[in-house]
Symmetry: C2
Subunit: 251 residues, 2 copies
């Protein structure tokens, strides 16, 4: 039996023109595509390609399935939105390998990076992540809320800009409310907050709101939230403003 | 005079197959390319295209030059390695606009994201940035060293994984030495540190070293350094190990 392969590829935030040629080439020679339904839908069907869309919250089973297929000789691509290494499928696949049978370790696994949502959102708004920043997943599905809260306070104390993935879902609306309260206490009223929804798609909206005017309903699961540092500036103009964080901090 | 345009585009970490089609299309219709010499060298010469390579450490002058050319009707692309919004030219261009004449604000400026070095490095090693993380520029050319040190300590206290840009240069070898000492004090001996050099190029090397065996000479300006969180794991195997940070923290 010929050796199979397993690739974990990032499709970028939505715009097909942000899919790298490296990722496109992997999709073009795959026999099987595995991933969450809306991401698998972004891969064009063709003869010889089997699509395996699965529901959310089954990342580990999905990863195991992909590994098993690769071990039978298939050329499997696991797709993630954005970058597969940022709150996405790459860690899930390595978790499955780590917990699986010893021979799974011999599988050659490659991760192909993609444009992650926070950097597409940052680009659409200007350059708010132009200085030191943190990326934090606000979902407490897989970690204690206390840890999120501690990280938020330390990031604010360090005056990092912050990018929030999965800020708010219908099943856990209270987390983002608490996040906003913590930041309002730690960062002052004027701190710019960017709500970048459906970034790089035709539905894209970018909204910039001072922290004291933020309300929790401004975010949903399609929204990236970026909070500036104390140095972040807004350039007002006739069109949409440019938001950026300068490269320097006075010595 | 026809309206010019200004685009700030990310060329990714080096592999031409990581340049997005969106960025390639912008390069294909540009009249002028502006950037640091080694990045401009990555753009193919063609009739009708003027290349403007400039030395390092002249970001603001380079940004002003790009803006002035765009205002005279040119189609200017400012190129950065990686992503232009991460310790690169996008912030420099907006700084120039912010400090420049009022009519500069009317210029339509677009930022096109690219694959940033830390995510290419993470992909090459596995998924060490699969959970919450910080991106920190270790150069103190544009900020006080005390701020870097404070951020390192807070990031360690928050148990973030960390990605370091510009870890070490010949002109400031002592910063990375101090960084290693701070982390050895704060993070314990076994913490995995990844030295990813010349990522995505034919010179790529990936080296994984426990924190107590790190020596400052392991990094140079072509190296991305990634430090795991306390949860980061190493999967040993016959080939290069896989390093990943699990998606979950036990509640």
């Amino acid at each position: 039996m010929s050796a199979g392969s397993l690739i974990i590829a990032g499709l970028g935030p939505g715009n097909p023109d942000m899919v790298t040629p490296e990722v496109q080439a992997a999709l073009d020679v795959a026999t099987d595509i595995v991933g969450y339904i809306p991401y698998v839908e972004r891969v064009a069907a063709r003869p010889g390609l089997t699509l395996h869309p699965t529901d959310n919250r089954v990342e580990l089973e999905r990863a195991q399935h992909a590994i098993e297929m690769a071990l039978t000789g298939k050329h499997v691509v696991v797709v993630s939105s954005g970058d597969p290494g940022v709150f996405a499928m790459a860690a899930a696949v390595f978790e499955a390998v780590d917990e699986g049978p010893a021979d799974w370790r011999n599988l050659d696994i490659r991760v192909l990076p993609g444009i992650t949502a926070m950097l597409a959102a940052s680009a659409a708004a200007g350059a708010p992540l132009g200085h030191d920043f943190c990326a934090i997943n606000l979902s407490d599905n897989l970690k204690p809320w206390d840890l999120i809260e501690r990280r938020l306070r330390l990031a604010a104390e360090g005056d990092f800009a912050m990018a929030f993935y999965n800020p708010r879902s219908k099943s856990r609306p209270e987390g983002f409310e608490k996040t906003v309260a913590i930041l309002q206490e730690a960062c002052g009223d004027a701190r710019p907050v960017i709500f970048a929804r459906a970034v790089s798609t035709s539905d894209q909206t970018i909204r910039v709101v001072p922290l004291d005017q933020v309300t929790p309903d401004m975010a949903d699961m399609r929204t990236m939230v970026i909070v500036g540092s104390s140095r972040t500036r807004i350039i007002t103009r006739d069109g949409d403003p440019y938001i950026y964080t300068p490269r320097s901090v006075p010595k």
